[in-house]
């Protein structure tokens, strides 16, 4: 029962993040919406594991968190310098 309620709450939050990604209006709204959606994906996978009685998939959600983090860093880095291979401030 508890996991059902949690899953429903996550789905509602997913819908809200999705509407922000669809409506925009600014670029950073959309980036934040994707980041938010990635976080909800991590939570959804964690809860789904318990909901379906296979909690060993919990490790997977950790790796999703890492992928999500790296993805957003890459996108933001791209907007800062326009170039993924840019060394950033450490190279100067």
């Amino acid at each position: 029962m508890m996991f059902d309620v949690t899953m429903a709450a996550i789905l509602v939050t997913m819908a809200l993040a999705l509407s922000r990604a669809l409506l925009g209006p600014s670029l950073y709204d959309r980036i934040l919406a994707v980041n938010m959606f990635g976080t909800k994906t991590v939570l959804a996978i964690a809860v789904l594991g318990f909901l379906m009685g296979r909690p060993e998939f919990l490790d997977l959600s950790l790796v999703y968190g890492v992928i999500n983090y790296i993805g957003v860093i890459a996108i933001l880095k791209f907007f800062e310098s326009g170039d993924l291979a840019h060394p950033g401030h450490f190279g100067e």
Partner: protein
């Protein structure tokens, strides 16, 4: 509850796909394609295809989104509106979709344990893998033990491709007259 989650996630997928075709701001479309990949990754987890979900999240949501945005930096972020509205592409898509759905009618029912794919070689692997290899996970055993040389070759190919891309991008290039 799991079926309910399935329906909602598939509904989200449909909404995202429709929005991607309607939006003219290509940056938003790239972001939505990331969300699409994350959604399909959750669906793969629901279907117990954890390794597929893993690849989908890493490649689809991670790398593809970054590559799309890299392309947008070179081209432009607004789609040009073409005045023509032809019915032919829609008809082709509908026809292909109908043909694919017709093709699935012959397939065995979902989760049917009597399906041929579960009768042919799968029982042998499930029975003999722990004895022959000692690896608890059957998928890992097939990849790393039964098909070990194959996997080694694949890894070499991917490594070579990565090296080629790094050389093409010019990473690690020394600045002219610089210190780094």
């Amino acid at each position: 509850m799991a079926e309910f989650v399935d329906f909602i996630l598939l509904g989200f997928l449909a909404v995202v796909a429709l929005a991607m075709t309607r939006l003219r701001n290509l940056f938003a479309v790239a972001m939505l394609s990331g969300i699409y990949s994350l959604l399909s990754a959750v669906l793969f987890v629901v279907l117990d295809a954890v390794d597929v979900a893993f690849t989908e999240a890493a490649v689809g949501a991670g790398i593809t989104t970054v590559l799309m945005i890299g392309t947008l930096a070179l081209t432009g972020t607004e789609e040009k509106i073409s005045g023509r509205h032809t019915m032919i592409p829609l008809l082709i898509v509908l026809f292909t979709g109908a043909a694919l759905i017709y093709g699935t009618l012959d397939m065995p029912a979902f989760e049917d344990p009597q399906a041929p794919v579960h009768q042919h070689v799968a029982p042998k692997y499930l029975r003999d893998t722990p004895i022959e290899t000692g690896v608890p996970n059957v998928v890992t055993a097939v990849l790393a033990s039964y098909r070990g040389y194959d996997t080694l070759g694949e890894t070499t190919v991917i490594f070579t491709a990565g090296l080629g891309v790094i050389i093409l991008l010019g990473l690690g290039q020394r600045k002219p007259g610089g210190t780094a």
